[in-house]
């Protein structure tokens, strides 16, 4: 079932409104599917993800959740209740522990998810800056998973990780789509990651093309 949809979406940067980054894109994203969006640097991948996340709004067209334009209930509502974002640089709150970062999005969050992701008990109560990069990324993904939202959006989630850790993360994302029925959309350069996705798009010449 379509959960997120781009309807004739166009976007240009504020300082160069004549030059569109995205031009009249229409695409639908389904529940339970793991998507990868490939593209070269500057092709507009992160901009596209920002529009899907409700961090920005298109100059033309609509971004729809469950068939309804995001504007109707508001972008903040979309960010709070409908999506989770995973960034390449983790973006954890640096004065909190892993558990507290999880509780930012869900007060009922259980530590088991962090233990399942390979963190030790003592790691749960340390400052996140004391964790390794791989551990921090696993905390960031755990935060996205405990948020109890139907969509996970990730921007280069494995960009800073070694191959083994990256494979573990990809597996978690796959399971979120296939076992929990979430719509997972990952923006990446990595062809290795894209190869694990159910559907791969490529952003090329301001259009989103299915591969």
């Amino acid at each position: 079932m379509t959960i997120l949809e781009l309807k004739e979406v166009s976007y240009a940067y504020k300082n160069n409104k004549d030059k569109k980054v995205l031009n009249n894109i229409s695409t639908a994203f389904e529940e339970g599917v793991f998507y990868a969006i490939l593209g070269t640097s500057g092709s507009g991948k992160t901009t596209l993800l920002s529009l899907l996340a409700g961090l920005d709004e298109p100059q033309a067209g609509e971004v729809r959740f469950a068939g309804e334009d995001l504007k109707v209930k508001g972008y903040r509502n979309h960010r709070k209740n409908q999506i989770s974002l995973v960034f390449q640089n983790y973006n954890l709150i640096d004065y909190m522990t892993p558990m507290e970062n999880l509780k930012l999005v869900n007060k009922q969050a259980d530590k088991q998810i962090l233990l399942d992701f390979g963190l030790e008990e003592q790691d749960l109560h340390r400052n996140v800056l004391q964790l390794s990069g791989g551990q921090q990324q696993r905390v960031a993904i755990a935060r996205a998973l405990v948020a109890d939202v139907p969509i996970i959006l990730a921007d280069e989630p494995t960009g800073n990780l070694d191959e083994e850790t990256a494979d573990g993360i990809i597996e978690v994302l796959q399971n979120s789509a296939h076992k929990e029925g979430k719509c997972v959309i990952v923006v990446t350069h990595s062809k290795h990651l894209a190869a694990q996705a159910d559907v791969v798009f490529e952003l090329k010449k301001r259009k989103l093309l299915k591969k």
Partner: protein
């Protein structure tokens, strides 16, 4: 996670940043509470002075038409005028003064060290024992005591029932080995400027010491007789004996009258002016003008403290806004993350305010103690500065005229010499109010860029 929880985590875990903010808020609070306490102390001092000087008036010679009597131009306010005025309804107390001149018998005067002007000692020959005696009906109402130029240190004041009683300075008593209830002796002086009547006592007159006062000259004295240490305050009967006056021919230097209620002063003054007294030769002076330098120094103090408070608030707001701007700008990453998690901008700014308020609770609380420690010192320093300004303004207003250094002149040039600074709950309340407003203002100014930007713009800044 609630705003309060996030704020608490930040404050307790970002210790160096919280400490910096604590020090800034502590400084602001200490400065504000000190300013408020000094302001209150100044207001209290003014009220206290107003209570004593606004409820009185003085009758004295009108120097334009009446230069007084004797070579020294003593006042000649008739006793009959004083009697008429003191009986007006609403007047509660009065102090009539008369100056007498006498020679001290077997007594040493306190020596003048470092006089303002060096005299030729030979010119003063014969005057070694000469002194003025200030006779009065109630010394507790005398300007010298009210203004604090001198203070009663031992014994009691002179009152109108007294005969042959005297108040002397502690230093004079020490020099002459005198104690309370001892007697000193004076006699009519051949150097007196006022010729004594035939009835004047030819004998030595014994005066019992009923009180001793302390205090020193406000300015450097020119002559020994100007020293407060050589002042003598006695009763009216003693002056009458020395000069041989009868009751009906008694002429006062001046008389000061106190009214029950300062608001009634105008009504009473109207009645005074209606009395059959020769108002071309005499005049009524409101006592508010008795202490020009004192009120001038209070005005200067008011000005200084108001400038200080405005300065504190403005500078505090600027410093706090700048520091917060850097602080909030340094938290762009955190702001972006929270926005991406669906936390609202208002909620994020509320967290900043909550953090500052948490730090403010401690810093404002501790400022009570730091304020106690420094406010009195700052107040004393401001009093000194205000006194200098008040005196300078007063002298400038009198064409740079140099006033005498004797005890009576000292009441004219007396400035505020101290204030009692204390910090109460009211000042703490003001600190919270002002500090809270500065925090809200500073956070609002510093948060403008968060309000202005879209989440994506913040996130792009953070990456």
């Amino acid at each position: 996670m609630s705003v309060i929880t996030r704020a608490w985590y930040y404050v307790t875990r970002k210790k160096s940043k919280s400490l910096l903010m604590f020090l800034i808020l502590f400084g602001i609070a200490t400065a504000t509470i000190s300013g408020m306490a000094i302001k209150k102390a100044t207001v209290d001092a003014r009220e206290q002075i107003n209570q004593s000087i606004n409820a009185s008036f003085q009758v004295e010679n009108n120097l334009q038409n009446n230069m007084g009597i004797g070579n020294r131009g003593f006042g000649n306010v008739p006793a009959s005028a004083v009697d008429q005025i003191k009986n007006i309804d609403g007047i509660t107390e009065y102090n009539a003064r008369i100056t007498g001149e006498a020679d001290l018998v077997d007594l040493k005067k306190v020596k003048l060290i470092n006089p303002r002007i060096q005299h030729n000692d030979s010119l003063m020959k014969g005057y070694e024992n000469f002194t003025d005696l200030s006779g009065m009906t109630d010394s507790s109402l005398d300007n010298k005591f009210i203004s604090g130029v001198i203070e009663l240190a031992k014994g009691r004041h002179i009152n109108k029932e007294d005969t042959q009683k005297v108040l002397v300075h502690e230093e004079f008593a020490k020099l002459n080995h005198l104690k309370l209830n001892d007697k000193i002796y004076v006699q009519a002086s051949p150097f007196a400027s006022m010729p004594a009547s035939e009835n004047a006592s030819k004998d030595e007159i014994g005066l019992e010491i009923v009180g001793m006062f302390s205090g020193s000259n406000m300015d450097r004295a020119t002559m020994e007789s100007e020293l407060v240490e050589n002042a003598f305050i006695t009763d009216i009967e003693t002056i009458k004996m020395l000069n041989g006056y009868e009751d009906e021919e008694l002429l006062y230097q001046d008389a000061k009258f106190y009214v029950n209620d300062p608001k009634e002063l105008w009504r009473i003054l109207e009645k005074v002016n209606e009395l059959p007294i020769d108002w071309t030769n005499y005049q009524v002076v409101e006592s508010a003008s008795d202490y020009p330098a004192l009120t001038g120094s209070l005005d200067s103090m008011d000005g200084l403290i108001n400038k200080m408070l405005i300065g504190i608030v403005v500078i505090s707001a600027i410093i706090l806004s700048l520091v917060l701007a850097f602080w909030i700008n340094g938290r762009i990453h955190e702001t972006g993350v929270l926005l991406s998690l669906g936390v609202s901008k208002i909620n994020i700014i509320a967290q900043y305010v909550a953090e500052l308020l948490a730090i403010a609770v401690v810093s404002f609380g501790l400022s009570y103690f730091s304020g106690q420690a420094i406010a009195q010192n700052i107040g004393d320093s401001m009093v000194q500065q205000a006194g200098e300004v008040g005196t300078a303004n007063f002298q400038q207003g009198h064409g740079g005229m140099q006033f005498g250094a004797d005890a009576d002149s000292s009441t004219v040039t007396k400035t505020l010499d101290s204030i009692d600074v204390s910090i109460t709950l009211a000042e703490m309340g003001y600190v919270w109010l002002i500090g809270g407003l500065i925090i809200l203002l500073s956070v609002s100014i510093s948060s403008i860029f968060i309000i202005r930007l879209k989440p994506k713009e913040i996130l792009s800044k953070m990456s």
